[in-house]
Assembly symmetry: C2
């Protein structure tokens, strides 16, 4: 069993050099990969673990140069221009596929695809004018949510319309962009499914993750609390999407759960914040399996190795020494400068069983103070 | 609980840029540290995860420059000249302490210290001449082992003397160096204890590891197979050494086990190959706890999180895709060019219980072929 697998790509190129790219590299260096990142920011935090090309994402000349140094290309966020993705995909393997990237860049296209694949989504309407908005709200009723079709993330580019006078304000703020309005889902829980599909079509799913958002941003994630039937149902929906795209890599689907039924909130064609627990609580992390998939290596097990629960650090890091003094806390800092609302790191609480997990997570929430106790109780 | 721990050093300087430094950095980047390495080799494999200064270890001017970029210094191998260590230690925190480094650089000094601390070592004699050698062999009997006092590792700088005619050959090969001759220990097992001690004196021990060497080089390591009484006995010996040195960081003690008694083979004042399983099988890895200790953060739990067993990759890597197709295998490549006998990587087999571990390790050994099955059966 000697000789090395020369056919397996060794140099991974990542469009985007944020924390997802950084964690991909930290997972991939031990697997034998090297990393090149392309990012407009010269201090992109992934740069510590590979070569960083500073360039805009729509710089096709930079893409051509980038392609010469790598064996396979991927991305760490979904707003890479399709033109750049196509430029790279014309020269080397590019995963996940460009058509998945494109579909997920536009909320309208994404939701139309769901309908076509018979996957439940909240009622929605395209909005290209004030008149469209009035008509859509008339039909969907209040409250509902006005969103830009493109470039939204972490609750950005969104406005909740609760009463008639909210419409004009939201229109003033967002009306310059192509929009979509969606019915507001009074969900009982938010959850996400992470899936990974290999080049041979082999597909694996991590356990559904229960998520708690605050102001549109993820604060807490906990895997493994849903019944097997719901897991099966989520996997069925994911399977349709993965096959439709002939997908390769990790895909994340965010769901609303209401009265036992799942409807899709949005899809991310990439590793995802709600999958960070897999670094400490799964047999194989989302980052490792993404790399295995795009490089043609066999996929690793997606089973939980132990109960875990993720806390997200936004804007400012808590005191590291105090957090690390607690048992079962794994600390993940991204090396980014603090800025209000910015994702700076996360921690995963791990434990031998559910009772210990809840005790440990409760202890951390109390140490952190602020709103953490309340968020944890709502998870 | 806001505000960051500004007093904790953020920039770690490592003398040596090999795989131990590399794994230290991969464990330390998520903790928020950045890394600088100093190594004579411009392609030292740790360089991918931090800044690399190419300089000889005895270059005091380079040491002074290096000191300006870091908050705390450590090392990834024990043959750093004491003069360089002292230069750094005069300017900033340097851990483990220079006196521990110095003692472990000389087998004679190391063994004399053990005697002084009432720690069992195999009988030994200093050898500075042919006459010394003859007298020592006369007293210790054959077989015995002739070793250089300095710069030996992985069985290098050693000769086993089995019959009288071996003496002259060994003397011709090694006689230029200061030597020590040690009684040969017909051990039943080799094992190692990894300990970590914080700046406040808090000390933790990982479970004893059973090791299998071939030609003086570690091939297999398995933690958690020894009785609690032996663990307690090893910890007692370690405690004496740690206190003697006022040690900070990870220390490794390699033991021979014979008739239920431990005697010390050698001490490494650093993270160690026989502790690589901690990356996948312990609550906190040796690398993370070393960094926590030298930076003044609280230590993490050293408990086993699950049964594990490490395979070392020497000279050539096995086929990665075939190894990764097996369940429960974690792959760690060091990014070094293949060369006969060179340590290129390792894999850890993990499992839910002992039976599954043995089944999985057996499967991997069969896949690898060669002598692996035999080594595994002797572990």
């Amino acid at each position: 069993m000697n000789g090395s697998d020369k056919a397996v790509p060794q140099r991974i190129g990542v469009l985007g050099g944020g924390q997802l790219a950084r964690m991909m590299a930290l997972a991939g260096l031990p697997l034998g990969f090297s990393f090149d990142f392309l990012d407009p920011a010269g201090d992109a935090c992934a740069g510590v673990a590979g070569a960083l090309t500073q360039a805009d994402f729509d710089d096709l000349t930079a893409m051509q140069g980038f392609a010469r140094h790598i064996d396979v290309a991927t991305f760490d966020f979904e707003n890479v221009p399709a033109s750049s993705a196509l430029e790279l995909a014309g020269q080397l393997p590019f995963y996940p596929p460009v058509k998945a990237l494109e579909s997920c860049q536009d909320r309208l296209v994404e939701k139309q695809l769901m309908r076509q694949l018979d996957i439940a989504v909240p009622p929605f309407h395209a909005v290209n004018s004030r008149t469209d908005l009035l008509a859509a709200v008339e039909e969907l009723g209040l409250p509902c949510v006005l969103k830009t079709r493109r470039l939204g993330y972490d609750g950005k580019g969104q406005a909740i319309l609760r009463q008639p006078e909210d419409l004009e304000r939201a229109w003033q703020r967002l009306g310059d962009a192509a929009l979509i309005v969606e019915a507001f889902v009074p969900f009982e829980a938010e959850c996400s499914l992470l899936a990974v599909r290999g080049q041979d079509g082999e597909t694996r799913y991590w356990p559904l993750v229960r998520n708690l958002h605050h102001d549109g941003v993820l604060m807490l994630s906990r895997p493994g609390t849903f019944a097997p039937a719901l897991q099966a149902s989520a996997e069925q929906l994911a399977q349709r999407l993965l096959q439709h795209f002939d997908y390769v890599g990790v895909m994340t689907i965010e769901f609303f759960l209401r009265e036992g039924q799942l409807s899709v909130n949005e899809i991310a064609p990439r590793v995802h914040n709600s999958g960070h627990w897999t670094l400490d609580g799964a047999e194989t992390s989302q980052f490792e399996n993404h790399l295995r998939a795009i490089s043609g290596l066999p996929l690793g097990s997606t089973a939980m190795s132990r109960p875990s629960l993720m806390f997200n650090w936004l804007g400012e890091l808590p005191d590291r020494a105090r957090v690390l003094a607690l048992p079962g806390v794994r600390w993940h800092e991204y090396g980014k400068a603090p800025r209000p609302g910015r994702k700076l790191g996360h921690a995963t609480v791990v434990a031998a069983d559910t009772a210990e997990l809840e005790q440990r997570a409760g202890e951390l929430a109390r140490q952190l103070g602020g709103a953490w106790d309340g968020w944890l109780s709502r998870l």
